[in-house]
Amino acid sequence: MPAQFLLVAPLMVPLFCAAIAAIFWRRPLAQRLVSVVGATVLLGASLVLLDRVRDGTILVAQMGNWPAPFGITIVVDILAAVMLVITAVMALTVAIYSMGPGHQARDHAGFHPLLQGLLLGVCGSFITGDLFNLYVWFEVMLISSFGLLVLDRTREQLDGGIRYVVLNLIGTTLFLGAVAMLYGVTGTLNMADLALVVPQVENQGLVTAIALLLLVSFGAKAAVFPLFNWLPASYHTASMPVVAIFAALLTKVGVYAIFRVYTLIFSHDNGMLGPVFWFLAVTTMVFGVLGAAAHYDVRKILSFHIISQIGYMLIGMALMTPLALAGSILYVVHHIIVKANLFLLAGAIRQHGGSFALARLGGLWRTVPLLGVLFLIPALSLAGVPPLSGFWGKLAVIRASLEVEAYVLAAAALAVGLLTLYSMIKIWNEAFWKAEPLAAPPSGWSRGERVATYAPIVGLACITLIIGLHTEPFAALSFSAAEQLLGRDAYIQAVLGVPAAAPGATP
């Protein structure tokens, strides 16, 4: 059935591309071609999926034709489809950007097969409807990210890699433990089935404990407040295409898991969990942005800003209103594009200015004004300056906070936005505006490398502008996604309802 093939396409495409790219281990050109073609096909498939689910249908496929609560279910709703599209956009961007400076070393170290492996894990996490299967996809993603992080095998990468590896290993093992306990209490692992069974469990205290244990493991993945230390300790060591895809996708998988699990399975527990999310949102925002304010290395500043932005995404979970959740989803989409673009720009800044340290940069506005303009678009968008994409997400979450009179949340969101602007202006002043501290080293890069670097940056900047200036369809989509998340019955019905008709449940 074509619908089923379409549903597994986000898994099959990266899987095949990883295998083919690995076969062409010694032929970098073929690997690059595989990466770009694979990402394009993935983008096409995701767009078709998004088009099919846009009206609210939920596409379901039962793997191996096992009926719903027993086998592994693949589910695509609006949120999952949106995340798939954005993942494919990032895949294409990074596949092109990776042909920029330093590509020889990357290609020979196996960048492309690992990138496809990472995409496989990310896509799998977005579309799975089974909690244990989610663990498996997490691990697929994790092992690929380990390989990508230490791709160049420099001393600093090995050191950063150890921090990243150890903390993430513990995080996912905790997740496995939580899954085991949930299975022990409910006897099922299918998310839709869990949503039905969990509220009926007698020992609700145990359910809350499991919910919190899951929150710890997802929080460690999403770099939420007390568990974010692995991120700024490791991200800045990786090469720029790698850190761009990490910043775009890895933490967002954690956020997506939080959205999915706490709206679907533990939604009845929100009276207890709401204040927890509330606290986590504020502390994550504040600590992230203060960490960024204290640093003077472009990569470190941007790494800390990933953390502070995660806080905004949690506001939706804290309030659980359609507006707040829609704002959070819009924020995720905007953030993925903008943050990846900033890291791509950091790579270009390094190429022109010879360093990531603000102290050693300067005068770029005079030498490469184009880079300055391209930097300002995502930087101001990240801070939430009005016509750009970040503004609308912020507007929605702050308005939602004010509606339920959560003034502390709103105040924190506004203050953090201001401090974000401070950090971005710091980069601007130091790297672009002030005089050159030294004569900039000649940036020896070929025309092809220049195109490969600038094309993705320009492309993502255009997407940022489109989301900012033509918000209506994006906002409408976020609202439908949020309403679908909150009205969880449709999801449950689609997965469990009439299994025989489910695979062909197309409009």
Binding site: F146, L158, D159, L176, A180, M181, G184, T237, F356, A435
Partner: protein, 132 residues
């Protein structure tokens, strides 16, 4: 039996937490391997132990016989063991590579990733226009 297994899991978890608190990387990795083992035992336990009848389907009636052991935890554990093995292998190779390059595996001596960020701007930044 359940109680005994629960206590065993608790002891394994405490041992792994103790190892995590060490500054020595191989000990931390041993802690991770122990944590994985404890979690696998936990999966076995939550799947309800007690039955010794293997979870095999009789071809005659095509159904799992009554009183058979729960097959799902075994499938889950098998998956988790394979994944844990892969991750542990990678982590050990990373530790080996680090040992070769740094000559140490003490957390306190591994500070390379922190050094690349100068704590402040250098002093000449206070006169931004000086060299313009």
């Amino acid at each position: 039996m359940e109680t005994l297994l629960a206590i065993t899991i608790g002891v394994i978890f405490s041992a792994s937490v103790y190892l995590f608190l060490s500054r020595d990387l191989p000990r931390i990795l041993l802690g991770f391997i122990l944590l994985g083992a404890g979690t696998n035992l936990a999966i076995l336990l939550v799947g309800r132990i007690g039955s010794l009848k293997p979870a095999l389907i009789d071809t005659a009636d095509g159904m799992l016989g009554a009183g058979a052991a729960n097959p799902l935890p075994q499938a889950l554990i098998l998956t988790a063991i394979v994944i844990g093995f892969g991750l542990a292998a990678f982590a050990l190779m990373l530790a080996l590579q680090t040992w070769r390059r740094f000559g140490t595996l003490e957390a306190e001596d591994l500070t390379e990733a922190e050094r690349i960020d100068p704590p402040t701007l250098s002093s000449d930044e206070s006169h931004p226009g000086a060299k313009a």
